[in-house]
């Protein structure tokens, strides 16, 4: 019996203690008509050995690829220590730290995470995590709607925001009959189109989201847009790749006052791509908004002896206390991912993070220079980017990507399903994990794909 320690003796003695004759007797309150006959569709149990073998076979079938896809999920180097530590049983198999005294490890780590993220986004407070970047944005926008009960139940979201983030937002916000208005982007720069904003009146919306860098890798003029939105009495939510914030102005530095909320996915901080998850939503805001925050928050306090310690706090926002009046239904969040990300940031450090960001960006410039030689390929937008860019190709992108896969390369993301208006457009990302050789390989493979 895998994972069950009971011997026949144990069972007999335990049944005697309870005063029943069989385990079946313990189910005598279950209506008899609900019985069913086993689970014939399921395979019999397999040993760890068999599954190891099977998983290794499937993994080697999937193979390893030279990857140039980013689009919201980024391949970065993860220091070996990160998961050797995060995988320790004391982190891996602990529950949400309700019993503070028995959870000081996780609680202190969460407090450190909150501190790091507040500082990185240049805002005041952070929660302990949300599911992922897309749901973090949805929660951020709900915060804004709650914080501005006088404003219209409308939020503005740029069309240059990740299509799957927009999809997620709509799933969530439409339940509460909140309108999600998409703002067009400027076809020349890829940035939010100022003209599209002008048509939105003051008080007509509770919040505007700004994606920095945006889905195209393009850097928005975030300060100008923030100023405009604040001028309309709305809140500003920055949706940012947190790695970019090592070098790019973070939401707290936008315009005079800064944005009000920052959110996004901290996957670039030590979280493997892993086929799409688990990742790590982060959320920070100004102090004034803290009681609107969803999710766990850890505070520092003192114990009976006056020693400093950590505990979950401001729980009156949460579902287990406030039930139908909570700021969100979120309960289990992404604890282990926060553990990894916090350790990652501690290991990489302030300077290290800045260098990673610079190197990512440098690779993207270097690739740009190489691709300038490839006939028919050109950047689609004329605006500064961070480590990711849209290329226009002379052929349908799927065809090109297919050929590049033949060389073991994942060449980028075809934008046609999301932005058919952009033609043969491909989103390409480089991180610090791509070497100069990789870029050469990419350029050659792209050229060959276009020629063949």
């Amino acid at each position: 019996m895998p994972f069950i320690p009971h011997t026949a003796d144990d069972v007999a003695q335990m049944l005697a203690s309870i005063g029943v004759r069989s385990i079946d007797d313990l189910f005598d309150e279950v209506p008899a008509e609900l019985g069913f006959d086993g689970l014939p569709q399921l395979a019999p149990g397999a040993s760890e050995l068999e599954l190891t073998r099977l998983m290794e076979e499937r993994a080697s079938g999937d193979g390893r690829w030279l990857n140039f896809i980013g689009a919201g999920a980024y391949e970065h180097h993860i220091p070996a220590a990160v998961w050797q530590l995060a995988g320790r049983g004391e982190f891996y198999t602990a529950y949400t730290p309700y019993q503070a005294e028995a959870s000081q490890g996780t609680l202190q780590l969460l407090y450190e995470w909150q501190s790091m993220m507040a500082s990185l986004t240049a805002l005041d407070v952070s929660n302990a995590s949300l599911y992922d970047g897309a749901t973090a944005l949805a929660e951020a926008l709900l915060m804004a709607v709650r914080a501005l009960p006088q404003a219209a139940r409308r939020v503005l979201v740029p069309r240059n925001l990740h299509p799957f983030y927009r999809a997620t937002l709509k799933t969530v916000l439409h339940q509460q009959a909140i309108d999600v208005v998409e703002i067009a982007f400027d076809r020349a720069t890829g940035r939010i189109d100022p003209a599209a904003l002008e048509s939105q009146g003051a008080g007509g919306f509770a919040a505007l989201a700004i994606n920095q860098p945006n889905f195209f890798g393009v850097l928005e003029d975030a300060s100008a847009v923030t100023d405009w939105a604040h001028g309309q009495g709305a809140l500003v939510v920055g949706v940012c790749n947190p790695l970019a914030m090592a070098v790019i102005a973070p939401p707290g530095e936008w315009a005079e006052d800064g944005a009000d909320v920052a959110c996004g996915d901290a996957q670039p901080f030590g979280i493997p791509l892993s086929g799409g998850g688990p990742y790590l939503g982060y959320l920070t805001c100004r102090s004034a908004l803290v009681r609107q925050m969803p999710g766990r928050i850890v505070g520092r306090t003192v114990d009976l002896d006056g020693r400093s310690g950590f505990a979950l706090t401001l729980q009156a926002r949460e579902q287990h206390i406030r039930r139908s009046k909570a700021t969100s239904n979120i309960c289990t969040n992404q604890g282990l991912m926060v553990t990894a990300a916090t350790i990652h940031l501690a290991l990489i450090g302030r300077q290290g993070l800045e260098r990673v960001a610079m190197q990512c960006h440098s690779r993207s410039r270097e690739l740009g220079a190489l691709l300038a030689q490839v006939p028919g390929v050109a950047p689609l937008f004329d605006a500064p980017v961070f480590h990711e860019t849209v290329l226009r190709l002379p052929l349908p992108v799927p065809q090109v990507l297919g050929r590049m896969r033949g060389e073991g390369i994942l060449g980028g993301l075809d934008l046609a399903p999301f932005y058919p208006e952009l033609g043969h457009a491909m989103l390409v990302c480089t991180t610090e994990t791509r070497t100069a050789d990789d870029l050469q390989r990419y350029a050659r493979a792209l050229q060959a794909a276009l020629e063949s």
């Binding site: 994972f3 069950i4 009971h6 203690s17 385990i23 313990l26 279950v30 209506p31 689970l39 399921l42 149990g45 599954l51 190891t52 499937r58 993994a59 999937d62 193979g63 690829w65 891996y92 198999t93 529950y95 005294e101 028995a102 490890g105 202190q108 501190s115 790091m116 500082s119 990185l120 302990a128 995590s129 599911y131 992922d132 990740h162 983030y165 709509k170 799933t171 975030a222 070098v247 530095e253 996915d265 086929g275 998850g277 803290v290 505070g299 009976l304 310690g309 706090t313 401001l314 579902q319 039930r323 139908s324 969100s328 289990t332 969040n333 604890g335 926060v338 302030r350 990673v356 500064p384």
Partner: protein, 485 residues
Amino acid sequence: MLIFELSRPQRGNHAQFVAEPFLGLDDIPPALRRRGTPALPEVSELDAVRHYTRLSQRNFSIDTHFYPLGSCTMKYNPRACNSLAMLPQYLARHPLADPATGQGFLSCLYELQEILKEVTGMAGVSLTPMAGAQGEFAGVAMIRAYHAARGDTARTEIIVPDAAHGTNPATATMCGFKVREVPTGPDGDVDVEALRAAVGPQTAGLMLTNPSTLGVFERPIRELQRVVHEAGGLSYYDGANLNAILGRVRPGDMGFDVIHVNLHKTFSTPHGGGGPGSGAVGVAPRLLPFLPIPVVGRDENGYRWLTEADLPQSIGRLSAFMGNAGILLRAWVYARMLGREGMRRVADYATLNANYLMAELARAGFDPAFPARRATHEFVVSLKALKAQTGVTAMDVAKRLLDKGFHAPTTYFPLLVPECLLIEPTETESRETLDAFVRAMAEILEEARAAPEMLKAAPYTLPVRRLDDVRAARQPDLAWGSAPG
């Protein structure tokens, strides 16, 4: 000591510094660049490793302690699930890479969908919800979508029993519904008559947890669900407690329309100090069109993601990519290790352990909240009498248990039982461990009678003594360097 206090300017972990020369940021206008210096630590690799290794030792965890936290299913998390989900190829898989490059990964997810269909008795499954609460969200959103698709827009209420987990009412609100509570009867089952009185044309659905958070199987389960159906509402099954019935009875067979399963409970994926979880949802045939995307489909070309194109009535996406995909791999490994026979054993032995522990605690002088009922995989003990006699509360007992090397049960939940402990031993604990727990509880009972004041100040042997929660909330210190005002 905080990691920041170990930090020194110019220290840092140079092995992690990108060594090669790189181009600068001169192509980015200065106005777009960061001005302030973030307060990230600069520590050596040794300092970081030592700091977090030592921090980890300040946690209780399944791997170190018995952790009978009711409603949380803190059972053994097999290590193979972790290592197999972390094979290099899976970790490196980009979610937007062509499905042809990830048939192995996708096949595991597909098979997990099939397994969950089978064990829940539902017609379709989506794995995308990232925790139980998001599964609830998906479920209630599907209920909304179902009524909307039929033009039935008057249904504005979700009914929730008073014993429900907080996520249930919170979810109903998130989904734009009003919440109507129904009470629990004296025997622990939901009051059927009250439910009958509560339903009506405004009823969108009922969210029911079974076995309930009171640790009992809702005997009128079929009737409860029938009452709601007859009123035109749908029935939601909170499957957080599936561990109690896995392989023995199926929510689908009970007539439910939608269920979520906490894979981080019943399928033993790690709790990780608060997630990631996974709240896969299963649906009856009438909700199939509304399943959240992506779902893994299979055709002659192999496995692929099903999207809006395949499921145009879907409630939509719940995450940027594919939920907590790596957690799903772990759940699949676990399910395959258990296999056909193993599923039912989970329910059998979880139930055996809970009933044994309830019986032994009763012998030791504790009061089960529902002594006439069977425990399911968990049960509630009330310390009301103890408090009346000695002033010792459930919280005091919980804290004292920590001193004795046991994690505390869930305290003060469900809210309707005064001074309660919700105790869930799980099937992976041995009888010896349960017996040791009973001995510790019996000792505490003696201590409560002999020296109640001592218990008020427990714990004594942990890294910190009892913490001041009030101060934490009144003078919030939520980030380093921003001391409370």
